[in-house]
């Protein structure tokens, strides 16, 4: 009877396409919004994940997220180095500074000051230039999106100059870096160079980046650092989630996206549910006739579930496809870098569509199960 169910479903092309459209629309809205939400939330802590050469972040014990790290005294670096289990530790500056371009315009920048000797925390992939050139005086590297933001439409040209706090800064490379939450350019320089950019501050070191001795558990080493120095020490993942949780709990981002995602679910459920239910109601006499002719309730339930799965599968596939097309289409846009369709969004949306189809099918199934086959004898 499966082909009968299929033909019943596809027989009325308008309703069939309407059902698929409802599911596809819901899928598109949910998967696209969930993906963007995850991308934006990931951006809040993307710079933590970008640092792949150190697994421990040490900071002031009141830090709530990466952008709110008060300076540490330089002596803290030595204290961290003295903790058993710490293989090495280097300093890292992270701050937001104002740069002046040659044409007189000013731009805010996120500046990373890397340990002069090791460059721990440096970008992993260069597009133009060499990381080693960071040793040159006043040198800096900027991320791709930052370059396009600072010099829109212009080809990569090294040697460009900026003024930061009246100090000269020279571009020696363009790198790939994860987009930050604020979409500001990300500038990498040596710690010593950064110290010339920063206004006079007694404490400039934002973080100490450390690495455990091989074979030591990072979390255990973090606990030792905290116990011995009174500072906060977190593994990369712990710091990532601490930052993410701050943004989730302290901003309106989850609420805004949550409302849109919920609307996608509700609209999808309403459109699909109503159309599918009406489809069942219109076919009630046919279902009654099938019942009279000897089709069991179980088989009818199977037919309705099959129809639901076909609609759900087709709509979901189209919706996910449209979401993929959206992200493919927007991938060249620099400001949308890092926003892409995630497996979690695809999977989560799949579950939501399954729920929509289940709810929708249950209403129809109930109608058919309570249907008296004798209805077919009532004119």
């Amino acid at each position: 009877m499966n082909w009968v169910a299929f033909r019943m479903l596809t027989g009325d092309r308008g309703k069939y396409l309407g059902l698929i459209f409802g599911v596809a629309f819901a899928t598109l809205l949910m998967s696209q919004q969930v993906s963007i939400f995850m991308g934006i939330i990931n951006r809040t802590a993307s710079q933590i994940l970008d640092v792949r050469d150190a697994s421990i972040w040490v900071m002031d014990n009141k830090v709530r997220f990466i952008d709110e790290a008060p300076g540490l005294p330089d002596s803290d670096l030595q204290r961290v180095r003295g903790v058993p289990g710490v293989a090495w530790a280097v300093r890292l500056y992270k701050g937001q500074l104002l740069a002046r371009l040659p044409d007189g315009n000013s731009r805010s920048l996120i500046v990373f000051g890397l340990d002069d000797a090791s460059f721990v925390g440096a970008p992993a992939e260069m597009i133009v230039g060499e990381l080693a050139d960071l040793h040159r005086p006043d040198a800096f590297i900027i991320d791709k999106a930052g370059y396009e933001y600072m010099w829109p439409g212009e080809p990569y040209r090294l040697g460009r100059e900026l003024q930061i706090n009246d100090c000269r800064a020279v571009l020696i490379g363009v790198c790939k870096a994860s987009a930050p939450f604020t979409t500001l350019p990300v500038l990498f320089t040596r710690y010593s160079t950064a110290s010339t950019f920063v206004s006079k501050e007694r404490r400039m070191m934002s973080f100490v980046l450390a690495q455990s001795v091989e074979g030591q558990d990072d979390e255990e080493v973090c606990r030792r650092i905290e116990k011995q120095t009174g500072l906060m020490a977190l593994t990369r993942d712990q710091f990532f989630w601490k930052t993410v949780k701050y943004f989730l709990g302290s901003t309106g981002i989850p609420v805004n996206f949550g409302i849109t995602i919920l609307l996608g679910f509700v609209v999808g459920a309403a459109v699909t549910g109503q159309t599918f239910y009406l489809f069942t109601i219109e076919n009630l006499r046919q279902f009654g006739a099938l019942k009279a002719m000897g089709v069991t309730n179980l088989r009818l339930v199977g037919m309705i579930l099959l129809q639901g799965m076909l609609v759900g599968g087709a709509g979901y596939g189209i919706g996910v496809g449209l979401t993929a097309l959206f992200f493919i289409g927007t991938s060249p846009i620099t400001h949308l870098a890092g926003l892409h369709m995630t497996w979690a969004a695809v999977g989560g949306t799949g579950i939501a569509v399954f729920v929509i189809i289940t709810i929708t099918s249950l209403a129809s199934i109930h109608k058919v199960l309570v249907l008296e086959p004798a209805i077919v004898f009532r004119g």
Binding site: G11, Q286, V295, G379
Partner: protein, 249 residues
Amino acid sequence: MTIQLLDSHAQQTPDDDLSFSAVVCRGVTKEFGSGDTVTVALSGVDLDVSSGQMTLLVGESGCGKTTLISIIAGLLDPSAGEVHVFGEALHQMRGRQLVRFRAENIGFVFQQYNLLPALTAAENAAIPLIIGGEPRTSAVRRATELLDAVGLGNRAGSYPHQLSGGQQQRVAIARALVNEPRLLVCDEPTAALDAKSGQTVMELLKRVAVQPGRAVIIVTHDSRVFGVGDRIIHMSDGRVERIASAGKS
């Protein structure tokens, strides 16, 4: 045409041999609702229907003929009484057993045809075979042969909306007969048709459906087709009022 009055009593005399007749009803009562709102649709109906005959169930609207045919077809449970179809106690059957009995023994022709609009005439006619587990291809082939017998061999690939009312009803008759049921129940098969089409459908039923070993019960209030039946059961107020035999002279 002459109609011979067989029994003028309000109820038919019960026949003790339940296996003799195709359909035997004894004291069948059906009530709808409960308490003060109870409605009695059938009141102690006794009835025998023989195989090889076309039996017409006639009467005014609301007299209980549709309720009775629903009970005989196993679509409604009687409130009281017994229903035996080919010796099987239908009133004692429940669930899957009843569904299987209907699928294997009873064919249906409905007033509104109830064809699936998305299926062709042949596919519609094949449905009972497919319900019975026959592969789709062979089921459609057999259904097409039967459509030939009802004069629609050249419309096997047509969809219901491409057929006239009479043609749709003929497809419905082919569907009802395709798995060779022992009991055929028809509910107002001519009600939605004009006089000519109605007569054609009734004659078709008489020619194709009535066979030895098969009982045909037709609910109708269309007096123009009374002459086609072998036996006419008149109902009134939930009871069998009288039974007459009809024949062409």
